[in-house]
Structure formats: structure tokens, C-alpha cells
């Protein structure tokens, strides 16, 4: 409950944050809403030497806009802003709804979409939704910027394709108003999902929460839907190839069972 000592840098611009990242590299962690990082610090599961606080920045890193067929979301946009954004509800209702499933209102008022994605927790809700939507993540480092497909972004448990000197600045998803659903199965309102499933565009994008070390696309389900299978038939393959964790909430076979049930329910909603 008491974090180890660290140096604290409050960045006054995105450039300053990137400069500090370049200086401190692996020893530094970015702090945005803090709702993933601070618990790790307090449990001493993470002990970075330097915390670079970007939580107070605007600097073009906050807000939601639609640009052609793309929805562009600043990385520092808070979950509560996604949840209540009319623009997002119209252009990509799945993402607005998914944001409303994160934690509780206090968490949603602090946590940011960029923080959630960069943390790369396979049990978080937003990574799977962005994956199902086929999103793109924009990473900036001192003197440069690159785009990473969501499918390539999540590389391992709490690991992403972001380099030590890179900061996630923007999330882009296609405008998506086809049938959608997000089924989240958990014990208490504020908990992570035991299993979750996000469905976009009537089942053309399906991604699972907490079914492996990263959020995973249910490719077999997507294929079955594309081939005209019913939700029930498509969902039967939802757990194919997954290796979900075992913990106090369930073992692998139970999670796989849940994945099939939840996928069927989500597909039924998305196609009704």
C-alpha cells in the first residue's frame, strides 16, 4: 500500500514528456489517469525510478472527432468522456458503450483510453473493443510518429509494441454503426471482466477479453459469420485456440465455456 520512492516529473507539453521519456527510457513510466499504474506502485509490483505525469496535458491529446471515415480520439480522453460523447455514440457506439463498462464512475472520471490501451491488460475492456473495430494506434517519440495496427499492438501480458521512448497519442477507429455488442461478465460492477467479448459490425469484428495474455480476436467466429453461420453456430468456435488464465474466478475450461455463451449472446444482440 506504500509505493517505493520515485522521481516525479510533471510534463507541461507532449514534447517535454517525450524528452523526459528519451532521457529516462526503461526507468520511466507515463502517468495519465493513474488507475492502472498507481495500484501497481502501491502493491510494489512496479517500481519505476521516474514517473512522468501527462495527466494534466491537453496539447491536442484530448478529444473526439470524426475525420472522413475515421474516428480520432486523443489518448488522454477519459472514459467518462467517451461514454457520454454524442459524437462517439453516433459514429462508434460500441466504443462509447465499452467505456461505460469500465470500472465505476470514479475510475471512469480519471482513467484515459490511452492509458488503458498502453497498459495492455488483457482483462481490460477497451483493448478488445479497439481490436474488434480494427483500430489503429498512433505512437509518437521525440522527432517522429508511427501508426500501429491494434492487431499488432498487444504483444504480451501488460506488454505492447510501444518503445520505451514512445507515447501513445491517438486512437483511430473506423466509423462503425453496424450491429454491435459488448458482453462483460464479472462479479462486481467495478471489477475487471472474468471474460468479455466485443462484437463490431454484426460479427465481422469479434474480440475477447481475458482469454489469454493479450486481448484476442476470435477469427474463427468472424469467419463463420462471414460464411453466413447463425450466432449460435458461430459462437461454438469462440474459444478455439485460446489459453485463458486460471484464478479464483474460474479455470480455463470455465472461461472457454463463458466465451462461447457470451459470444453467442453478443452476436444475437449485434444481429437482431
Amino acid at each position: 500500500m506504500i509505493p517505493a520512492a520515485f522521481d516525479y516529473i510533471r510534463a507541461d507539453s507532449a514534447e517535454a514528456a517525450l524528452a523526459a521519456l528519451t532521457d529516462h527510457g526503461d526507468d520511466a513510466k507515463l502517468l495519465a489517469g493513474g488507475h492502472s499504474l498507481i495500484p501497481l506502485l502501491k502493491l510494489r509490483l512496479a517500481a519505476p525510478g521516474v514517473i512522468i505525469d501527462v495527466g494534466g496535458l491537453d496539447d491536442g491529446l484530448r478529444g473526439i472527432s470524426v475525420d472522413g471515415g475515421q474516428v480520432r480520439i486523443g489518448a488522454l480522453t477519459r472514459h467518462s468522456e467517451l461514454e457520454h460523447s454524442d459524437v462517439l455514440r453516433e459514429s462508434c457506439p460500441l466504443l462509447a458503450h465499452t467505456a461505460s463498462l469500465v470500472g465505476d464512475p470514479a475510475v471512469r472520471h480519471r482513467g484515459t483510453i490511452g492509458g488503458s490501451l498502453a497498459h495492455a491488460d488483457p482483462a481490460s475492456d477497451l483493448p478488445a473493443a479497439v481490436l474488434a473495430l480494427g483500430g489503429t494506434l498512433v505512437a509518437r517519440r521525440k522527432g517522429g510518429e508511427r501508426e500501429i495496427a491494434a492487431a499488432d499492438f498487444f504483444t504480451g501480458f501488460l506488454e505492447s509494441a510501444l518503445g520505451p521512448d514512445e507515447m501513445l497519442t491517438e486512437i483511430r477507429v473506423p466509423v462503425s454503426t453496424g450491429g454491435w455488442a459488448h458482453e462483460k461478465f464479472n462479479r462486481r460492477a467495478q471489477d475487471w471482466a472474468i471474460v468479455g467479448v466485443a462484437v463490431a459490425e454484426g460479427g465481422r469484428g469479434v474480440a475477447l477479453v481475458n482469454m489469454g495474455s493479450t486481448p484476442v480476436r476470435a477469427a474463427a467466429v468472424e469467419q463463420a459469420i462471414a460464411d453466413g453461420a447463425s450466432p449460435a453456430d458461430a459462437a461454438a468456435s469462440a474459444a478455439d485456440g485460446t489459453s485463458p488464465p486460471t484464478d479464483n474466478n474460474g479455470d480455463g475450461p470455465y472461461r472457454q465455456h463463458l466465451a462461447r455463451v457470451l459470444t453467442r449472446r453478443a452476436l444475437e444482440q449485434a444481429t437482431s
Binding site: L43, R187, D191
Partner: protein, 796 residues
């Protein structure tokens, strides 16, 4: 009802807003962490990471070099410093031959559970103390771990090597085993059921904390502690440290809940006192959530075997119970007695000619257990109420009918009725309680809806669960406690005084930690003395202000402490009557007292309000001969009997058979706690209690692995439910006054917990009954429910 007598606003029966709330909601209330003393040192505990291990070496060098560290002390060093004259106390040696291995604040040689303190760091800040504690290197020689009650019972590996056994005691209340056996032999129906009471973490909103402030030149010491029991703590600090009792002052500041977790005498308290006294410096500590999970005592922890015998109509002829109770690694204040608090209630609200109860207490290498909301009684209520549902299935009648056929006194009103376990129940009237609960919930309609869903094969099935509970509170007649070898009395002390300006001060021996004593006591005074409750201030929770008390636990505050206050008020009124008579030049027998005013019968013009008499009693210029100045009276009330609240709860659950998810969708609680002083506070207690019991049924479980490691020590993993997980609790009441005290009050703090775990699990099992599933271990997690369905042949 027409009531022509004008009553003071806010007296007994009024929904008076709580006096305590303004300072709580504005943050003005001062909790232990808000109180600081100049020069204070923070303790950082180095806790065993092993469940059972011999300490071979402790390297403190690196820790001692952390900036701000004052000292690092190992258990062996502390033992040599002579800070304590006795180990931590167990006040309830339930049998003469009970085993009670010494429990030192810091273990000098062997750690007996994960979290056992092996060394302590003193530093100038909480952060430095935590950093340094992390840097103490302890080498352990692992010993065999007793990681469960089942393993303890095998008695192959021993939790304390030198004891040679894990069995701490055997306690029996079994007056006629042959008669009981004969009843089973002759029974038309029998039930034999095994239930598990999983370990629970109390998790009050405010964790525990201490601050010991010595006055080295004044020769005294003040211990601030987030405790339910400042008076007990004072005695135990003296007994454990050898400090003269009169030099110790205990202050419990605002305390954010306890649920039993704060009624113990803890290692940190004795460390803080011992070190502060030794160093002449203030010493403090606040536990983290993870520390609370590993070291503050846990609740429940039992394996239960209950057997029922009944005739062909389902009428009980015998109840026989065998309990194995998990003590954990050490006997804390009332660890061994906690399961026995339920012993008298394993026949519940039912009439049975034969009753037998036996409990074995076992040591494990797990965190010690002790009282947790209900303490022994929720366990008893669970066993009998689950078993009655099984009996109903066996006999082939409904769960309501099996209860009606067996209620004490046939469900009719009774007073002072002897139970099968040998207690005298003060009063009860169980039939109307069930009637009312079934009516409110709409029982018949729910059964129809249940049948519809079953016929339709719907995914979400409905379950309805009943529980009629009785509990023992008003702890307790001191003689009865003595008979149980409990190491203290059950009285409570109160002082009531009218100040010179007419305002009223009440000194309460009973100490609140969230219950609202200040409000409730003011209401009792308002009714008794005919005054505005705003004119009453309640002093409590500081042994210098309130030197005599037995504190707050076991739903005892109102039924003992509140009654003491009413009795002290009567003594003040009586003295004031004599003073008024003196002023009226009348006989005290002719002076009547109504709505706070004394007057002479037949001469209404002559009248004086009791508050006006405060000044005359203070100046003492004109008192009757022999009358002492001031209106201040005290009473120590020792009840003659316990009080036995009761009620019927109905839980309605929806079980998603595909996922195993159980949703509690309705909860009706009809409780009877006798006379109610503040119905709003009563409802609040029921709400919280119901949720805590439902949490045992559906959410909470301290899960240990085979190495004795707690796998869910944080609130991320230990699932305390929030408001989002429970429905609106529908409360109603019957009122059957107690015969145990003049206010007719019973107690309600634990009632919700005692009724709800059984009601919820009865509902879960009812939902799954068509699948042949009639029992399920708590908590009924989705995973567990789903496995049961699959094992019963339910496909995907």
C-alpha cells in the same frame, strides 16, 4: 392510536437524523490517522512470508541504513527487552484443558502464519518504515504447514510442533446423547448434512491503527486505538505490559466500523505501548489492507455436521450437531469461544425434545479467527435453516410449512420459554413474522413465476429462500458468562447528569464505532426526562471520561448500555423529584413528573422543569437535609437474561444456468428487535447486516492455498460487494418487547447477518432443485454454480 400526551420531539421511536452524521460527511470527524503527536515514530512490520517456519537468521543491516530509520528490532531482541510480562491474552479458555500456545506480539523463534510479525522497524515516516521493512532479510527453515481445517483434523502435521496435536479443545452441550440417539433410531425422517463456513475477512471501511503517546515525566501513557473495546484494552494493556492500570488512558477516536475485527487485543497495540514506553517517544502504525487481511483476525472457519430427526409429519424429534472450528494459529481474545456463541442456537426457532452439540477447536497455520458480525450465531442459523429446507424436501412439504410445524410455542406468542439447549428465550412470536414476510414478498406469485420459468426451460431460473432466525444478544448476564468461563462480566455502566445550565451529559460505557450511540442515547434521555435530544451530549470512548465500561460487541449496546442509561436517568429524576418537592414544600409522593416538568398533583400552577433544577442542585444553597449537591447519578446494569431477537427473511435469486451467475433480485427482511428507539438506525443496521450475510453466501471467501498463503488479500480479489450488487432491501418489523430489560429492547446489530446467508443459499438451492442440486458450498460463485450444473448433467 390516539396519544393525548404531548411527547418531546425525537424521543424513543422517532426517526431522528443521526447526530453523528454531520461531522462524518464533512470530514470533521477525527480518525486515528488524523491524530499526530510531535516526534512520533512509525512502525513498519516485517511479517512472515511463510505459514510455518523457524527463523534461522534476520539481517537488519540494510534496513537500518535507510534514511529516517530509528531502529530495527527482531522478535528475539524484543523478548530480551522485557516490554511484556505476558503474551497476548485469550480471555475465554473454554475448557480447563484447552491448549493455548503463547502468542507474543513479535514471534522470537517460529512464525505460525503468514503475517506473523518477526521484526519491527521504527522510522520517521510511514514511507521510510515501509521501505526499511522491505529490506529486512529473514532466513527461514520451513516447517510442515497445516493449511486447512481438514488437514488440521487429520492431525498428521502440527501447526505448533511442541503441542503434538492440533486439537485445542473439545466442548460439548450434550445432556442426553442416548436419548438423542434413540430419537434418531425411531425417526420417520432424518437429514444429515455437512456445511462449510468459509473464512471471511471483516474489512471495515477504516483499517485498524494505533498511536501510543507516553508522558515519560508524567508517568502515564495514552493509547489511541481504532478499537471497539477501549475499556477491555486498558485492562489488557496493564496485564500484558505490566504498566500500572491507573497510568494508562485509552482513547478510541472516531472509529470507522469494526464488525468484530476491532474487539481484539492485537500485537501492534502491545508493540506501540511497549516501544513508546521504552523509548519515551510516540509510536504509531496504520495497517494496510493487505496487512488487515493477513494479520487482523478473520471470521467463521467451520466444518459443520448437522443431523435432524423428525416424525412422519416432519415434526422435529432431535437435533444433533458436530462442529470443527478453525482457531487459526493462535488463541486471540475470544477465539475459542466464538463458535460456542452459536452452540445454544443450533436448534434455531424450533421445538425439539432432544438436542446435542459438540465442538472441537483446531489449530491451523492460518490467520487467527475470532468474532465477526454475528460470531457463531450466523453459523448456527445457517446450519439449522439449510437443514430445515432439506427436511422439507425429505418430508415432501414446503419450506414454509416445515417451519410452521416446528416453531417454538407452535408459532404463537410466548414469554420466558426454555429452549432445548437450556436457555430461556425472553419472548417470541414466530408465526406472524413468517406470514408478514411471505405477504410482502408475494410468495404465491413468486412460486407461480418460478413454475412458469421451469416449464418454459428458461435460462434464468428463479429461487426463493426462507429463513426464520433467532439470535442471542444483550451479552450478557455476568453469572452466565462466568459459567461459560468467559473472562469478563457482561454489565454496562452509565452516568447521567444535569449540568448547571440545564443541559444534560451522558457518560456511556458502551463505545460506538458507527452505530449512532450519541443519537440513540439522546433519544432515551429525551423520552425519560422530557427534554430536547439536542440538549443531550454523550461522552464515550475515552477511559478518562468514561472509566467504566464493557464496550460494544454482540449487539449488546442498547440492551445493556442503553438500559443502564435509562436507569441512570430514572435515578436523576428521582433525586430531582425530591428537590422539586422541597421547593414546592410538598411531599415527594405528591409530586408528579410529566414531559420534563414536576408539579404537585391538583396544583398545576406550581411547576418546575427538570432542567431548571440543575442550577439549584449545583449552587446547593437550598437543598433538602442530607441531599448531596448536583444531579448526577450512575448505574451499572447487569442483565438477568439475554435478549433473543428474531425474524424471517426471504431472498429471491435469479440463477443464469448458462453462466452460473446468481443475482439477488429481491430481499425482504421482517425483523423483531423488540422496542425500537430509532427505526431509521434499525433499518440501517438491517441493511448492512443483510448485505454482509449475502456477501458470505455469494461473494466473500478468504482463499488459502496448500502452503497457507492467502490468494486474495486485497479488495481487488476479496469480493466485498457494493451497493450495485444488492437490491433494495425491503424491511419491515414486528415488535415483541423483551422481558429481559425495562425498555423491552433486544438488539439488531447482527440480525441481518444472521438471517441472510441462509436465506440466500436456500434460494440458490431452491432454484437448482429441479436439477437435483440441493446443496452448494458458499460462496455460490458463478464458477461453482456452473460446475454443479455440469456435474448434475446440465449441458452447455
Amino acid at each position: 392510536m390516539t396519544d393525548t400526551m404531548a411527547r418531546p420531539e425525537g424521543g424513543i421511536g422517532a426517526r431522528l437524523p443521526r447526530k453523528e452524521d454531520a461531522e462524518l460527511v464533512t470530514g470533521e470527524a477525527r480518525f486515528i490517522d488524523d491524530i499526530h503527536a510531535p516526534g512520533e515514530l512509525w512502525m513498519g512490520m516485517v511479517r512472515s512470508t511463510m505459514a510455518h517456519a523457524r527463523i534461522t537468521s534476520i539481517d537488519t543491516e540494510a534496513a537500518a541504513s535507510v534514511p529516517g530509520v530509528h531502529s530495527v528490532l527482531t522478535g528475539a531482541q524484543l523478548a530480551d527487552m522485557g516490554l511484556w510480562v505476558a503474551p497476548l491474552p485469550c480471555a475465554w479458555p473454554v475448557t480447563d484443558d484447552m491448549l493455548n500456545p503463547p502468542h507474543w506480539p513479535v514471534t522470537p523463534d517460529v512464525a505460525h502464519h503468514v503475517g506473523d510479525i518477526v521484526a519491527v522497524v521504527l522510522a520517521d515516516s510511514r514511507y521510510n518504515a515501509a521501505d526499511a521493512a522491505d529490506m529486512v532479510v529473514v532466513d527461514y527453515e520451513p516447517l510442515g504447514v497445516v493449511a486447512s481445517l481438514e488437514q488440521a483434523r487429520e492431525d498428521q502435521i502440527h501447526a505448533h510442533e511442541d503441542l503434538g496435536t492440533n486439537k485445542a479443545y473439545t466442548w460439548a452441550l450434550d445432556p442426553d446423547p442416548e436419548g438423542t440417539q434413540a430419537a434418531f433410531d425411531a425417526a420417520a425422517h432424518t437429514v444429515s448434512a455437512h456445511f462449510v463456513q468459509q473464512r471471511l475477512i471483516p474489512a471495515p471501511m477504516e483499517p485498524r491503527g494505533v498511536l501510543a503517546v507516553p508522558a515519560p515525566h508524567g508517568g502515564e501513557l495514552t493509547l489511541y486505538s481504532a478499537t471497539q473495546v477501549p475499556h477491555v484494552l486498558r485492562v489488557m494493556v496493564a496485564a500484558t505490559t505490566g504498566l500500572p492500570e491507573q497510568t494508562i488512558r485509552i482513547i478510541a477516536p472516531s472509529v470507522g466500523g469494526g464488525f468484530g475485527a476491532k474487539l481484539n487485543i492485537n500485537p501492534d497495540e502491545m508493540l506501540a505501548v511497549g516501544l513508546a514506553n521504552h523509548l519515551g517517544l510516540p509510536v504509531r502504525w496504520t495497517e494496510s489492507r493487505s496487512e488487515a487481511a493477513a494479520s487482523t483476525h478473520q471470521g467463521r472457519g467451520q466444518l459443520q455436521h448437522i443431523e435432524l430427526a423428525a416424525d412422519e409429519n416432519g415434526k422435529l424429534t432431535a437435533v444433533r450437531v458436530k462442529i470443527d472450528a478453525d482457531m487459526g494459529a493462535y488463541m486471540m481474545l475470544i477465539t475459542p469461544g466464538t463458535p460456542l456463541l452459536g452452540s445454544f442456537l443450533y436448534h434455531g426457532v424450533y421445538d425439539t425434545p432432544h438436542f446435542g452439540f459438540t465442538c472441537d477447536g483446531w489449530f491451523t497455520n492460518l490467520t487467527p479467527t475470532d468474532a465477526y458480525r454475528g460470531a457463531g450465531r450466523p453459523e448456527a442459523s445457517y446450519a439449522i435453516e439449510r437443514a430445515m429446507d432439506l427436511l422439507a424436501l425429505e418430508v415432501g412439504i414446503g419450506p414454509d410449512e416445515i417451519r410452521r410445524r416446528n416453531y417454538l410455542a407452535g408459532g404463537e406468542a410466548f414469554e420466558n420459554l426454555e429452549s432445548a439447549a437450556g436457555l430461556v428465550f425472553d419472548s417470541g412470536h414466530y408465526g406472524p413474522s413468517l406470514d408478514k414476510a411471505m405477504e410482502i414478498v408475494g410468495y404465491d406469485d413468486l412460486r407461480a413465476e418460478q413454475a412458469r420459468r421451469r416449464d418454459a426451460g428458461e435460462t434464468k431460473q428463479l429461487g426463493i429462500g426462507l429463513c426464520t432466525y433467532v439470535e442471542i444478544c444483550g451479552l450478557a448476564p455476568s453469572r452466565a458468562l462466568g459459567g461459560l468461563k468467559y473472562g469478563a462480566g457482561g454489565w454496562e455502566h452509565a452516568t447521567v447528569r444535569i449540568l448547571p445550565t440545564g443541559k444534560i451529559e451522558v457518560v456511556s460505557g458502551s463505545t460506538p464505532h458507527g452505530q449512532g450511540h450519541e443519537t440513540t442515547w439522546s433519544q432515551i434521555i429525551a423520552t425519560k426526562m422530557g427534554v430536547d435530544p439536542a440538549d443531550v451530549t454523550v461522552l464515550h470512548s475515552d477511559t478518562a471520561l468514561s472509566p467504566l465500561g464493557m464496550d460494544t460487541y454482540g449487539s449488546r449496546s442498547l440492551a445493556v448500555g442503553g438500559v443502564a442509561i435509562a436507569m441512570a436517568a430514572d435515578k436523576v429524576i428521582d433525586k430531582a423529584r425530591h428537590l422539586a418537592a422541597h421547593q414546592f414544600e410538598a411531599s415527594p409522593d405528591d409530586v408528579q413528573f410529566e414531559n420534563g416538568s414536576f408539579s404537585v398533583a391538583g396544583t398545576p400552577a406550581k411547576s418546575v422543569h427538570i432542567q431548571e433544577l440543575g442550577f439549584a442542585a449545583f449552587t446547593a444553597h437550598d437543598l433538602p437535609d442530607g441531599m448531596e449537591p448536583n444531579l448526577s447519578e450512575q448505574v451499572t446494569f447487569d442483565p438477568t437474561n439475554f435478549a433473543f431477537p428474531f425474524g424471517t427473511h426471504v431472498a429471491v435469486v435469479e440463477v443464469d444456468e448458462e453462466t452460473g451467475q446468481v443475482d439477488l433480485i429481491r430481499y425482504v427482511a421482517v425483523d423483531d428487535c423488540g422496542t425500537q428507539v430509532n427505526p431509521q438506525i434499525v433499518e440501517g443496521q438491517v441493511h448492512g447486516g443483510v448485505v454482509q450475510g449475502a456477501a458470505q453466501a455469494l461473494f466473500e471467501h478468504a482463499i488459502y492455498d496448500e502452503n497457507g498463503q492467502l490468494t486474495n488479500p486485497s479488495l481487488l480479489d476479496y469480493l466485498v460487494p457494493s451497493a450495485a450488487e444488492v437490491p433494495t432491501i425491503e424491511t419491515d418489523f414486528t415488535v415483541t418487547p423483551s422481558t429481559s430489560n425495562p425498555l423491552g429492547v433486544k438488539g439488531v446489530g447482527e440480525a441481518g447477518t444472521i438471517g441472510s446467508a441462509a436465506a440466500v443459499m436456500n434460494a440458490v438451492c431452491d432454484a437448482l432443485s429441479p436439477r437435483g442440486i440441493h446443496d452448494l458450498e458458499m460462496p455460490a460463485t458463478p464458477w461453482r454454480v456452473r460446475r454443479a450444473i455440469e456435474q448434475a448433467g446440465g449441458g452447455s
